[in-house]
């Protein structure tokens, strides 16, 4: 596949990087990334991945754009209020870069659909806001051997880690089980500074791009935390993969995906998470 003149120009700032070059840009165009959640984290990640020329981007989210989303979910605009988030996100991505094939999945992830959703993708980006979804993504990716980026944000803090099954600890190695409902504050209860979603979502996009192009070191075996009040990043070296981990350990006890129940940032009574 040869680049058109327009592509050479569009991706020139990537191509000039010795770590990316024509080869890396071709890898990006041939790659497939699934973003789960078109919210605070997914919005900036989707925009940068589309701009970067990730050839196929899947976006999964069951929600419609709400006024309270617009403080941070910059892929949606005021004119999109009430529109399914995946459609609004698709329009924004296609507007930035027509090279990108966007696949939309207007559904909540569950134990019954996640394996089908992740199957065709090279890298998964967890932009969800709730622990049942985060554990479900971790377990499904471990079982399917799919690399993914986990992230979370609250108030003025954010964190992320990258999981490559078999190469380092998984999310469950670190956090074991979801906290009980309402035990840990959510963004809805505690708030989040909008730009934090931008910082952490962009870092997730960077991890996806680095994974695809084989550039640099990934946050595998590390949890990177960021505190906006002190402007400090802290990279925590995680323990090795836990041999007793319930999903990626030597004798896994979780062999079937679990649908946990719990409240989340944008959760409303009666809504499935």
């Amino acid at each position: 596949m040869a680049f058109t003149n327009e592509q050479m120009e569009r991706y020139s700032r990537h191509i000039i990087l010795k770590e990316i070059g024509v080869k890396g840009q071709k890898k990006l165009l041939a790659s497939k990334v699934l973003i789960i959640g078109a919210g605070g984290l997914g919005a900036p990640a989707a925009l940068y991945l589309a701009a970067a020329g990730v050839g196929t981007i899947g976006i999964a989210d069951a929600d419609a754009v709400d006024l309270s989303n617009l403080q941070r979910q910059i892929i949606h605009s005021t004119a999109d209020l009430g529109k399914p988030k995946v459609l609004s996100a698709q329009e924004s991505m296609e507007a930035i870069n027509p090279d990108v094939q966007v696949n939309t999945y207007q559904e909540f992830i569950t134990s019954s659909n996640i394996m089908d959703l992740i199957r065709d993708y090279d890298f998964i980006l967890d932009g969800t806001d709730n622990f049942p979804a985060k554990f479900l993504i971790n377990d499904a990716c471990v079982m399917a051997g799919k690399p993914f980026s986990h992230a979370g944000i609250i108030r003025f803090k954010g964190q992320l880690m990258t999981v490559i099954p078999g190469e380092g600890p998984c999310y469950r190695c670190v956090f074991k089980n979801p906290p009980p409902k309402d035990a840990v504050p959510t963004c809805r209860q505690a708030g989040v500074i909008g730009a934090m979603a931008g910082v952490i979502g962009c870092l997730q996009a960077l991890e996806a791009i680095k994974y695809i192009t084989g550039t640099g070191e990934l946050l595998v075996g590390s949890l990177l935390t960021f505190d906006a009040l002190t402007m400090e990043f802290h990279k925590i070296r995680l323990p090795k993969k836990d041999p007793d981990c319930a999903v990626c350990g030597e004798h896994p006890t979780i062999t079937k995906l679990i649908d946990y129940e719990q409240a989340a940032c944008d959760w409303k009574p009666g809504e499935k998470v």
């Binding site: 806001d129 622990f131 979370g152 840990v184 323990p239 090795k240 989340a264 940032c265």
Partner: protein, 70 residues
């Protein structure tokens, strides 16, 4: 004695336990925080019996939601 807590050097009482350190550091919702000492996870049940030593590196790992309902 000196230990490193979340990347910062701290002066703490000799033989302080993980539970005591969590209280001293005002760790929010400590029952849902994972702890590593020198890059090894400490089981929750061992927090109160695990005494820290000079030069130990302690990390608190917090649950963080955020993002979008999906």
């Amino acid at each position: 004695m000196k230990i490193t807590v979340s990347g910062e050097t701290k002066d703490v009482a000799d033989g302080i336990t993980v539970t005591e350190l969590m209280e001293q550091e005002k760790v929010e919702t400590p029952e849902y925080v994972s702890v590593s000492v020198n890059e090894e996870f400490i089981s929750r049940g061992d927090f109160s019996s695990t005494k820290l030593k000079e030069g130990d590196t302690v990390e608190f790992l917090y649950f963080m939601g955020g993002g979008s309902a999906a």
